[in-house]
Amino acid sequence: MSIALFLSVFIIAACGLVYELIAGTLASYLLGDTVFQFSTIIGCYLFAMGIGSYLSRFLHRGLVARFVSIELMVGVVGGFSSSMLFLAFAYTQAFRFILYAVVILVGTLVGLEIPLLMRILKERFHFRELVSHVLTFDYLGALGVSLLFPILLVPRLGLVRSALVFGIFNAGVALWSTWLFREQIARTRGLRAGCLIVISLLGGATVFADRISSAADTNLYADEVIFSRDTPYQRIVLTKWKDDLRLFLNSHLQFSSRDEYRYHEALVHPGLASLPGAHTVLVMGGGDGLAVREILKYPNVQSVTLVDLDAEMTHLFSTHPVMSALNQHSLTQPRVHIINTDAFRWLDGNTDQFDFIVADFPDPTSYALGKLFTTAFYRLAAKHLSRNGVMVVQSTSPLFARRSYWCIVESVKQAGLHTYPYHVYVPSFGEWGYVIGTHDDWQPPQQLPSGLRFLSTANVKELFVFPVDMAAVPSEANHLNNQILVRYYEQEWKDVAH
């Protein structure tokens, strides 16, 4: 009997600690700064336990029934804590608030447990023995779970399922208590039914835990990760959800296979279709081969040079069955030449001329990337652009980052080119912008290749019309010695996020 009693102390102690560990680990995963997260979570949790201990004095009658329902509440709140927190992080802005609310709620409930239990047991043991035994098993439980957590629970069960399993343990202790203390309870049936409901709820949830925890373990790529690799330059992650393939570079979405045709058709065809005599094409960035796929629709193009920094990226999109199917094996066509090097330096080191130049770089999220959006870069690219050639630049969103967009347009202009800004709606990105730069006056094309899914001769001219909320705003140009664009960009996307 007494062993059984103290075993339940052991279990509830373990449960109490595990929720705290889960909250700390999860916060470190999602927010970083481990020291800060663990310190504040442990602090709040211990403080909340103090609140619980204090509140225990206000409970007078029906202590066992109260204890059982508190156990059930801990089971529910603690058991669902990590699922709740993952979902809160993915879908709300209030992650921190919910995190500390959960920690304080669980802490308060756990703080009630031991004082209540000691009062329930005080008739059965000497006070000296009682304190000694309860605290001994309390600390043993803490030791047990703190060893189990890193060795078994996180690697084997994952955070979501660990919480659910320990929630079931809490509910189990509650159910067991209805037998252990049955003579002290008025209506066992109702409590037992409650226990069984909670256990089946938590048990049922463990079946779906994989869905939530895979989202968690892959650091919140919402879908199944089918490929991920850290190259010397970036982290490449490819996800799949039904028929939707998504590419992330350093967790920035690059494309979704459902609508990338809109992005790439708009990137390539307005420029290239206007050049019936184009023979040579240069693509910088765009190691996914999707822009090249569009370029190869022109029989007049004799050679495509693709300059992308990351050899693993171009290798992947040349050889991986899923990815090379998506770009229709464009990177292994004989007309295509791949060069893996830094684009700015490569341009600086040769004098090749191109009829059509595509600058499809990641957004200017750092000063390093910002160099590829400067007047110096466009001036250099213009030297490689043949007399009647067209250059097109991926230029971020004119809606979400309006100043950034017009800053890029201004930079192309100050490099001495005529500019023709345009935009397109890509559902997975939102409104997206480009700018065409030419040496001379230029007109959008009258004809397009057949078989396009988005562009037509009717809608291509509309791309060059900007609604009022995206219209030009005065902006400085982006220079190597004053990268105003990086600062605009950071500010504007921060405003979007909040």
Partner: protein, 501 residues
């Protein structure tokens, strides 16, 4: 047996009792100029010259002052001169090095964009191709981000501490900037300094005392001013003339974008000048004695004795006393000793906060931080680089600092440098493959209180017979523009003297 022995030896390792090991870092001292300097000071025996040559003009000292004097002479069509440099490599404080990762500077690493009035500087840069049709080449204007500061556990953009500055600190920054703008408006703080400088009581006190008098007590502002003095003058604020401290801030327009810089710092300028002036330049040529011979001067080196009509003394002024007949001791000239180190990093260290900048400073460090040699690279991805680490030993009196410089081993300095960097980059020990250290005993002039408007300094502005002084230390501080101005002015005067001007 052997396995048991292996186990016994391995057991302490298993439980982690072996000493924690860092990777081995190669390197040593380079470009030491002490031996030649000490021979001159101690009047040691030098070999007698093997030949005598008559040449109208000799320039002694192949740093920026001497190179610019030669550049000016050559450009004005005067070719009858030689330029003597005692080291193997000319360039002085603008020397540079190169390894498989990058070129890198050994000391001076930038030139502020010359203002409109600095016509000679603009002429030089036009000739070197970085200034064309009124536009500076954007490849040599320092890229963004230029500066950052490690403070409160992370890097912030810009050197002026602002992340934890209070409203009161910011109010003092504003008041200071307004005050500086007023000084600028007087027209007395110019580059070159000689053009605007008027005797001022500001020179009588230190910039630290001036700040106190003006009720600037913000620790951040005071740190910033102290840093500026250590960086440009190698001296603490309490050892720097208030006039010179104000000159640092007031002599340039604040909106100037720049400065001009290159991976190898001012070594780029030096290398181009050396290339142009190769036929005049004699390296490894210590001018150990300059004597009067009637109206002429005899300049003695171990190879050749030059019989000259005039000499341009572009070497540090204090050396004249040891070499030039009749030159007085330049006792009030103080020089800061410096330590610079070039660290080759084969991977980029961890860090928190703002991106790697060109100039990277650690708050409250005795050192001056480091400059990233690959900052001016066009590459977007950089995984190896060279950092030039600067340390002016400003806390000590110069003589004591020089002793310290000589008495410590390379390994001592290496550890001190890595420990300093480890505050901002905890894993720096694992990232550095090689470290060369250069010790400069008399690196730059210190504008101590009273020096700028002292008779001692102004005395050297006049030629001593037919010897014209040209070192930047005549301005009280060592910066490129002062060296160029002094070199060109001396060349002008010397040309006049020998009837070619």
């Amino acid at each position: 047996m052997s396995s048991r022995r292996g186990f016994l030896l391995g057991a302490p390792g298993l439980i982690g009792l072996w000493r924690k090991t860092d990777r081995t870092i190669t390197g040593g001292f380079v470009n030491d100029s002490f031996p030649a300097g000490h021979r001159l000071r101690d009047h040691s025996a030098f070999a007698a010259p093997k030949q005598q040559l008559r040449v109208p003009l000799v320039i002694i000292g192949g740093g920026m002052a001497g190179l610019n004097a030669a550049w000016y002479l050559d450009k004005r069509g005067f070719h009858d001169f030689v330029l003597l440099e005692m080291e193997k490599q000319a360039g002085g404080n603008s020397r540079s090095g190169e390894n498989e990762v990058s070129r890198y500077p050994w000391a001076a690493h930038y030139v502020p964009v010359p203002a409109k009035g600095e016509s000679v500087a603009r002429e030089l840069f036009e000739e070197l191709g970085v200034y064309r049709d009124g536009v500076w080449d954007e490849r040599v204007l320092c890229f963004d981000p230029q500066e950052r500061l490690f403070i409160n556990g992370h890097w912030q953009e810009g050197i002026e501490p602002h992340d934890s500055a209070t409203a009161a600190d910011r109010a003092q920054y504003r008041r200071f900037n307004d005050k500086i703008a007023n000084f600028r408006a007087t027209g007395q703080f110019t580059i070159p300094m000689e053009r605007g400088a008027r005797t001022s009581p500001l020179d009588k006190i230190s910039i630290a005392d001036w700040l106190t008098q003006q009720r600037y007590d913000s620790p951040y502002l005071r740190w910033y001013v102290n840093y500026a003095c250590r960086d440009d003058y190698g001296a603490l604020a309490k050892d720097t003339s208030a006039w010179a401290g104000i000159q640092y801030f007031a002599s340039r327009e604040p909106e100037d974008k720049g400065p001009l810089t290159w991976p190898e710092g001012n070594g780029w300028v030096a290398a181009r000048l050396i290339e142009k002036l190769r036929r005049y330049l004699r390296t490894d040529a210590v001018a150990y004695r300059v004597e009067r011979a009637g109206t002429k001067l005899r300049v003695l080196t171990e190879r050749t004795e030059y019989l000259a009509d005039a000499v341009i003394w572009a070497a540090p002024t204090f050396l004249a006393h040891y070499i030039l007949e009749g030159a007085p001791a330049a006792d009030r000239f103080e020089y800061s000793p410096w330590l610079t180190a070039n660290l080759t990093l084969d991977r980029m260290p961890d860090q928190r906060g703002a991106e790697l900048a060109w100039d990277n400073v650690i708050y409250n460090s005795p050192t001056l931080g480091y400059v990233d040699a690959r900052h001016m690279s066009l590459d977007t991805h950089i995984d190896k680089t060279v950092w030039t680490f600067y340390w002016s030993l400003a806390e000590y009196p110069p003589a004591q600092a020089r002793q310290l410089l000589l008495s410590r081993t390379w390994s001592d300095w290496k550890d001190a440098i890595l420990n300093d960097l480890a505050r901002a980059h905890p894993d720096i020990h694992q990232c550095v493959a090689h470290m060369d250290i250069m010790r400069i005993g008399h690196a730059m002039a210190r504008p101590t209180p009273g020096f700028i408007f002292s008779e001692e300094r102004t005395r050297w502005l006049h030629p001593l017979g037919n010897v014209y002084f040209a070192n930047s230390d005549l301005s009280g501080f060592s910066i490129f523009e002062e060296a160029q101005y002094r070199g060109v002015e001396a060349a002008r005067a010397a040309l006049k003297r020998i009837g070619r001007g």
